[in-house]
C-alpha cells in the first residue's frame, strides 16, 4: 500500500468517526429542542445532557482533525477546496460556533433556557446540510477553472437534484443514527419512557433514510457515470450494508438488544461510507484533483504518519478512559453520581 492510500484511509476513517459522533450530537440537540416544544422535555433532557456533557468538545475535535489532516496530507486541497468553499464552509463555521457556544451557555450557564436550546437544536439540523455540500461538490460538474483559479457555480449547485438528495440523506441519517443511539443509552439508564420515545423516533426515521440513500445512487447515475460504475462494482458492500440495516430495525422493533442494534448500525454506515469512498477513488475533486497529484512530499508524509501513530497511542487509551467513566459506567449513566 502506498502512502497516498494510507493517508486518505486514515482521514476517511476519522471522517467516519466524526459522522457517527456528530450525528448523535446533532440529532440529540434537535430532539432536545423538539422535546421542549412538544412538552416532552421532562422525558428526554436528562438523558441527552448526561451523554453529551462530557463529550461535546471531543466531537468537535474529530472535525478539526479531519480538516487539518487533509491539508497536511494533500496540501493542494487547500487551494481547490479553500477557494471554492468560502461561503458554504463559512456558514458551517457559523453554525458550529453558535451550536458549540450555546450548548455551553445552556448547560453550564442557564439550565433550561428555551432560546439557547432552540438555537442549539436548529443549528444542529442545518449543519449536516451545509457540510454535505462538500460531498456534492466533490462529484464534479460544479467547478470550473477560470484564469487558473477554481470557481464554484452556485446556480448549478443549488439547482441540482443531487445536491438536495444528499442534503435530505444527511439530515435523515443524523436523526436516525441519533435516535438509535439514544434508544440504547436510555435503555442502559433504565429510563423506560425515554427509551420508548427514542425507539419510536428511530423507527420513524428508518424508512426515509433507506429511500433517500437509494435515491442518491440513481442520481449519481445521471450526474457522474464513472462514479456510478465504480459504485456498481462494489454492489456487495451496499447489499451487506442493507442487511445490517434490516438487522438494526428488527432489534429495535422487537425491543431487544439495543446495543447490538447500534453495533449493526455502525457497521451499516461504515460499509456504505467506505463503499462510497472507495468508489470515489482516485479523485478528491472530480475531475480536477486526484489523491496522487495533490499528495505532499514524502518526508512530510512520513512524519505525519509517525505523528499520527504517536498521537493515537495517547488518544486511544484516553478515549477508552472517557468511555469507561461515562458511557459504560452504570452509576453515571443512571444518574446516581451527581456531577457538578
Amino acid at each position: 500500500m502506498n502512502l497516498e492510500i494510507l493517508g486518505i484511509m486514515v482521514l476517511w476513517t476519522f471522517l467516519f468517526g466524526y459522522v457517527i459522533v456528530a450525528s448523535v450530537d446533532f440529532g440529540a440537540g434537535f430532539f432536545n429542542a423538539y422535546s421542549f416544544f412538544a412538552g416532552k422535555q421532562h422525558i428526554l433532557t436528562n438523558i441527552i445532557q448526561r451523554y453529551l456533557s462530557p463529550v461535546w468538545e471531543v466531537t468537535n475535535v474529530f472535525l478539526v482533525f479531519f480538516f487539518v489532516g487533509i491539508v497536511g496530507f494533500f496540501p493542494k486541497t487547500a487551494f481547490y477546496y479553500g477557494t471554492i468553499l468560502l461561503v458554504p464552509v463559512s456558514i458551517a463555521i457559523l453554525l458550529l460556533a453558535i451550536r458549540g457556544s450555546y450548548y455551553a451557555f445552556e448547560t453550564y450557564g442557564s439550565r433550561g433556557h428555551k432560546g439557547y436550546s432552540l438555537m442549539y437544536g436548529l443549528s444542529g439540523l442545518f449543519l449536516p446540510a451545509s457540510l454535505s455540500i462538500v460531498l456534492t461538490i466533490s462529484e464534479g460538474g460544479f467547478v470550473s477553472i477560470v484564469d487558473g483559479n477554481p470557481v464554484l457555480d452556485y446556480w448549478a449547485l443549488f439547482s441540482s437534484p443531487l445536491t438536495w438528495s444528499i442534503v435530505v440523506l444527511s439530515i435523515t441519517a443524523v436523526l436516525y443514527i441519533s435516535a438509535v443511539f439514544l434508544t440504547w443509552y436510555a435503555n442502559k439508564a433504565n429510563d423506560k419512557k425515554a427509551t420508548e420515545l427514542m425507539r419510536k423516533y428511530a423507527l420513524i426515521w428508518a424508512l426515509p433514510l433507506i429511500i433517500t440513500a437509494s435515491g442518491i445512487i440513481v442520481e449519481l447515475r445521471a450526474h457522474n457515470p464513472e462514479h456510478f460504475a465504480n459504485l456498481v462494482n462494489l454492489w456487495w458492500m451496499f447489499a451487506l450494508s442493507f442487511l445490517l440495516f434490516l438487522g438494526t430495525v428488527w432489534f429495535i422493533w422487537k425491543r431487544k438488544n439495543y446495543g447490538r442494534a447500534f453495533g449493526l448500525l455502525t457497521g451499516q454506515f461504515a460499509l456504505a461510507f467506505f463503499g462510497y469512498g472507495i468508489s470515489h477513488y482516485p479523485y478528491l475533486l472530480y475531475p480536477h484533483l486526484t489523491i496522487y497529484d495533490s499528495f505532499t512530499n514524502e518526508m512530510m508524509a512520513i512524519s505525519l504518519v509517525i505523528a499520527f501513530i504517536a498521537g493515537l497511542g495517547l488518544l486511544i487509551p484516553s478515549l477508552y478512559l472517557l468511555l469507561r467513566l461515562f458511557l459504560f459506567n452504570k452509576d453515571y449513566v443512571t444518574g446516581k453520581s451527581d456531577p457538578y
Partner: protein, 448 residues
C-alpha cells in the same frame, strides 16, 4: 489573479477572528495551570477555600473554552478559505506542527470532560488533581505547536526552492526555526501572566463590591504572586525576542523602534509621534537599542535604510510596541508592590484605589496581548512567509469575503455578549458565601 478587495477583506477578517480568538485562547492556555495550582495548594494546605477556588474557576473556564474552541475552529478553516495559496505552499512544510496541535487539543478536550464530571467521584482529591495535568499540558502544548507554525511564517526554513518547486523538505528543521524558541516562550509565559491577572482582577472586583471574604483574599494573593513570576519571565523572554529580531528580522525591530539609519550606539525611542519622517515628543534612551539588540552599548543596529521601500512594515507598529511594553512593565511593578505590601502587612494594598488598579490589570494584560500580536503580525508585512511569499499573492480569489466579514463580525459580537452575560450571571447567582455554606452542610460543618 490579483484581487485587491479580497486581499483587504481577507486581512481584515483574519485579524478580526484572531483578535477575538486570542482573548479566549490566552485564557484557555493559562487558566488550567491556575486551576491546577489552586487544587494543589488546597490539597497541600488542606484548605477547602483553594479547592473551591479551583472548582469555581473551572466552571467559568468551560464557557471560555467553548468560545475558544469554536473560534479556533473558525480560524483553522479560515486559513485555507482565505489564504488558499499560502496553505497550499506552507502545507507541504509546516503541516506537522498543525497536525500535532490537534492532538494536544484532543488530549485536553478528553481530560477536561473527565475532570469536570468527576468532582465527587474520587474519595482522594489527589487523583482528581492528576486529571488536571493532561489538561494543562494539552492546553500549553497546543499553544506551543500553533506558535511554531507562526514562527515558521516569520523565519521559514527546512526546504529549498528550485525552479519554483519546493524540494529537500525537512519538517523538523521547519519546526525548529530560529524564531521558534523566543516566540513560543513569550506566548506561553504571557498567557500565564495574563490569565493570572485576569483572575486577580475578578478577585479584586469581588472584594471591592462588598464581599470581604477570606476566600477572595486568598485568591488575590495567589494570583498576584503567580502573575508577578510570569510577568518577570515574560519581560526576560521579551528581551531575548528583541535580540532574535536584531539578528534575523531587523526590519521588524527597526520599524518598531523607528530606527531609520543603521548606526552604532543606537538609542531606544520610547513613545513620541511621527510626522513626515520626523520623530517628535519622544524619550530617547542612549545606547538602549544597541543593548536590547546585541547586549553591547556600542554595537551596530541595522536600520530601515537597508531595505527596499516595498519590504518595510508599517511604522505604526511602534505605538503597539510601546503600549505592550508599558503595560508589561506596569503590571510587573504593580504585582511586585502588591506582593511586598501584602507580605509586610501594609494597609495600602487593601485600599479601594489600589484594588481598582488590580481590577484594571486584567483588561490591561489582555490589551497588551492584542498589541503584541498585532505588532508581531503587522511587523512581518508585506510578507506572509518572510522573504518567500507576499501576502498579496496568498489571498483567495473569491469575491465574497466582504459579506463573510460582516457575518463573522456579527457572530463574534453575539459570542462576546453571550459569554459575558452567562459568566456574570453564573457567579452572581451563586456567590462563594452560599456555595461554602452548602459544602459546609454536606461535610457536617468543617468549612468556614
Amino acid at each position: 489573479m490579483f484581487n485587491g478587495d479580497s486581499l483587504f477583506y481577507s486581512r481584515l477578517l483574519t485579524e478580526l477572528t484572531l483578535s477575538f480568538h486570542i482573548i479566549y485562547a490566552t485564557i484557555g492556555v493559562g487558566v488550567p495551570l491556575m486551576i491546577m495550582i489552586a487544587q494543589w495548594v488546597g490539597i497541600r494546605k488542606n484548605d477547602e477555600h483553594y479547592i473551591l477556588l479551583a472548582r469555581r474557576w473551572a466552571r467559568g473556564f468551560v464557557i471560555t473554552v467553548a468560545v475558544g474552541v469554536v473560534t479556533g475552529t473558525a480560524i483553522g478553516l479560515q486559513l485555507s478559505l482565505l489564504w488558499p495559496n499560502f496553505m497550499e505552499l506552507a502545507g507541504n512544510v509546516i503541516a506537522l506542527p498543525l497536525f500535532m496541535e490537534t492532538f494536544a487539543f484532543f488530549f485536553e478536550a478528553i481530560f477536561l470532560g473527565i475532570y469536570l464530571y468527576t468532582w465527587d467521584r474520587f474519595k482522594d482529591q489527589r487523583k482528581h488533581l492528576m486529571l488536571l495535568i493532561p489538561v494543562a499540558i494539552g492546553a500549553a502544548f497546543s499553544a506551543v505547536f500553533i506558535t511554531i507554525v507562526n514562527a515558521f511564517m516569520n523565519a521559514p526554513q527546512g526546504f529549498d526552492i528550485v525552479n519554483g518547486e519546493l524540494v529537500n523538505i525537512n519538517p523538523l528543521i521547519a519546526m525548529f526555526n530560529p524564531a521558534m524558541p523566543t516566540k513560543v516562550a513569550h506566548v506561553v509565559a504571557s498567557a500565564f501572566m495574563t490569565s493570572a491577572f485576569v483572575l486577580a482582577s475578578i478577585a479584586g472586583f469581588r472584594l471591592l463590591k462588598g464581599s470581604n471574604h477570606i476566600y477572595h483574599k486568598k485568591a488575590l494573593y495567589l494570583t498576584m504572586k503567580i502573575g508577578l513570576i510570569f510577568s518577570i519571565a515574560t519581560a526576560i523572554i521579551g528581551d531575548f525576542s528583541g535580540k532574535y529580531l536584531a539578528e534575523y528580522q531587523p526590519e521588524k525591530l527597526a520599524a518598531a523602534e523607528w530606527h531609520f539609519e543603521t548606526e552604532e550606539a543606537a538609542p531606544l525611542i520610547l513613545y513620541g509621534t511621527l510626522n513626515d519622517g520626523e520623530v517628535k515628543y519622544a524619550i530617547k534612551i542612549p545606547y538602549a537599542l544597541s543593548i536590547l539588540a546585541h547586549n553591547l552599548p556600542k554595537s551596530e543596529v541595522i536600520g530601515l535604510d537597508q531595505f527596499p521601500e516595498d519590504e518595510i512594515p508599517p511604522l505604526y507598529i511602534h505605538y503597539l510596541f510601546d503600549i505592550m511594553v508599558t503595560i508589561g512593565m506596569w503590571m510587573t511593578f504593580l504585582s511586585f508592590i502588591y506582593w511586598l505590601g501584602a507580605k509586610w502587612g501594609r494597609a495600602f494594598v487593601n485600599t479601594k484605589w489600589f484594588r481598582w488598579l488590580i481590577v484594571l490589570g486584567g483588561p490591561l494584560s489582555i490589551i497588551a496581548i492584542e498589541m503584541g500580536w498585532w505588532m508581531a503580525e503587522v511587523g512581518r508585512q508585506p510578507w506572509v512567509l518572510r522573504g518567500i511569499m507576499r501576502t498579496s499573492d496568498a489571498a483567495t480569489s473569491s469575491g465574497q469575503v466582504d459579506i463573510m466579514l460582516i457575518l463573522f463580525a456579527g457572530l463574534y459580537a453575539i459570542l462576546a455578549v453571550g459569554s459575558v452575560v452567562v459568566l456574570s450571571r453564573m457567579f452572581k447567582s451563586n456567590p462563594v458565601e452560599r456555595e461554602l455554606e452548602e459544602r459546609n452542610a454536606e461535610k457536617g460543618g468543617v468549612v468556614q
